[in-house]
């Protein structure tokens, strides 16, 4: 999968748990917490949704690596490479 497909997955997970931010400008390098007022419950729901969409098992210790769109894309790509 390419970066664009991973980005689609991350965005799909975001919009599934926070439909109110769909269509809002999204800065790919700013933490969701800082641009969308995500709290830890929003973030956990995002992780759950991302898991549902990708099947990737995300340990709690990896949560800091998924705080922005670009970081999430890089993370998924890394997981994909491991599975290949």
């Amino acid at each position: 999968m390419n970066a664009e497909a991973f980005e689609q997955q991350v965005r799909a997970a975001l919009y599934a748990i926070a439909p109110d931010i769909e269509g809002e400008p999204l800065d790919a390098d700013v933490r969701y917490r800082d641009q969308f007022e995500f709290d830890s419950m929003d973030f956990l729901r995002f992780i759950m949704e991302l898991h549902r969409l990708t099947g990737v098992e995300i340990p709690e210790s990896d949560y800091p690596r998924l705080q922005t769109l670009n970081a999430g894309v890089a993370y998924l790509r890394g997981q994909g490479a491991r599975e290949d």
């Binding site: 109110d20 931010i21 709290d39 419950m41 956990l44 729901r45 992780i47 898991h51 549902r52």
Partner: protein, 423 residues
């Protein structure tokens, strides 16, 4: 025959706009079933029916605004004879229609009757005006699109459904960008109040008004006291980390879940903090329905209840909380969730501030405020260490309880959180 009325979803609600009927006249309705949706200052709320029977007649059509207490429909109880329904409380709006008159009042007698019904002065009743002229019937429209259309004062008759036959936000927005046919343009005066900064389709000015009304009343009427304790959450958080490490993503628990469960159990043991204060004074509640304050993006908050909170295991509680947050963010809350709270918990969350002195949401008599969890110095057994602690503040109603009740609650909460595996 019974009346299905516009419910009061909190002390702050005066009126709502009917946005959807899920049932049509002649349909069977079950007690507890959601049969209508109403747009309020708190967003779209699903309204449940309290009787099993047949929906006899709809008296308030989609798009009409009606004060609390207005009869929305008549329900014929099972086995009852068909009877003649009363005349509509609010004159129906014809469709399609030219620009509606912006502030068309209902008959004063109706407003007065409704005011008497809900025990308010007639002068306090807001004028009843159709907000937008909407197509009733089998229209398929997403809740967000409905809200947006109401905000913009767009007639749904002008909106072309998408390829799937459903009107979504995109289709509503398309009407805004398209040149508007002159005869159907909404009157500017009618449109103006809806043209506010809104996010997620929710009118935040309206929500602020609702909060202001409820909190002003609370501060005016309730003699508050505040009692705080610093709780060592390290045992609970260590347990949770071990627990979550063994669980797959979808089974994980958020830290607020053991906190909510422990608070519910502690409330059960402190009846003077759990219930409602009404015309006849304090009525302790039989169950614990803890209202969970959820912040809205862009400002405002809403505190729907999780029913029978104290009886749910942690996994079920996590599911309920997840569902509740999902519906606060993008879906709809139910009327019972907004009127059933027996106490409320408000959790500021991570990266915020140390303490929260919360204001009681009437007619409740207590509220629990939690600051952020932070590593703080902790003295115990003649030694200092760093622990993750939480400062919990109980706001109580002095007409009902004293600081001692809140202190008992905090002791109980502390004990429960030290044995998280037993929650």
């Amino acid at each position: 025959m019974s009346e299905f009325k516009m419910p009061s979803l909190g002390a702050d609600m005066e009126a709502g706009t009917l946005v959807e009927w899920m049932k049509q006249p002649g349909d069977r309705v079950e007690r507890g079933e959601v049969i209508a949706a109403v747009e309020t200052q708190k967003g779209a709320i699903e309204i449940e029916v309290f009787e099993t029977g047949v929906l006899e007649k709809i008296l308030v059509e989609v798009g009409q605004r009606a004060p609390v207490g207005t009869v929305l429909a008549m329900i014929r109880a099972e086995g009852a004879e068909q009877a003649v329904a009363p005349a509509p409380a609010v004159s129906p709006v014809s469709l399609p229609s030219p620009a509606p008159s912006p502030m068309a009042p209902t008959a004063p007698s109706v407003a007065t009757a409704v005011a008497a019904q809900v025990g308010r002065a007639a002068s306090a009743m807001p004028p009843v005006a159709p907000v937008a002229v909407l197509a009733p019937g089998a229209l398929k429209i997403t809740p967000a699109a409905m809200r947006r259309a109401l905000e913009l004062g767009i007639e749904l008759a002008r909106v072309q459904p998408g390829a799937d036959g459903v009107i979504g936000l995109r289709e509503v927005e398309a009407v805004v960008s398209a040149p508007s046919p002159a005869p159907e343009a909404p009157a500017p005066a009618a449109q103006a109040p809806r043209e506010r900064e809104a996010r997620g389709g929710l009118d935040l000015d309206e929500m602020r008004k609702a909060i202001a009304a409820a909190m002003s009343r609370s501060w005016r009427e309730i003699p508050h006291y505040f009692v705080s304790s610093t709780l060592d959450l390290s045992p609970m958080l260590d347990w949770l980390q071990r627990e979550n490490a063994q669980r797959s993503v979808l089974q994980r628990l958020h830290y607020s879940v053991p906190l909510i469960k422990a608070a519910a159990l502690a409330l059960k043991a402190t009846p003077a903090l759990n219930g409602h204060y009404g015309a006849d004074g304090f009525e302790p509640a039989k169950s614990v329905n803890l209202g969970i304050a959820v912040a809205m993006r862009g400002g405002g908050l809403i505190a729907p209840a999780i029913l029978d909170t104290d009886t749910l295991d942690l996994d079920t509680l996590m599911e309920r909380l997840n569902d509740l947050v999902a519906r606060v963010r993008g879906g709809r809350l139910r009327s019972s969730e907004l009127s059933a709270s027996t106490a409320t918990i408000s959790n500021l969350g991570e990266d915020t501030a140390d303490t929260l002195q919360p204001i009681i949401y009437p007619p409740q008599v207590a509220i629990i405020g939690c600051g952020r969890i932070a590593e703080r110095p902790w003295a115990q057994d003649d030694a200092l260490s760093a622990r993750r602690t939480l400062i919990v503040t109980v706001g109580g109603d002095h007409r009902v309880s004293d600081g001692r009740s809140a202190a008992n609650f905090l002791h109980r909460l502390d004990d429960l959180l030290r044995q998280p595996e037993r929650l």
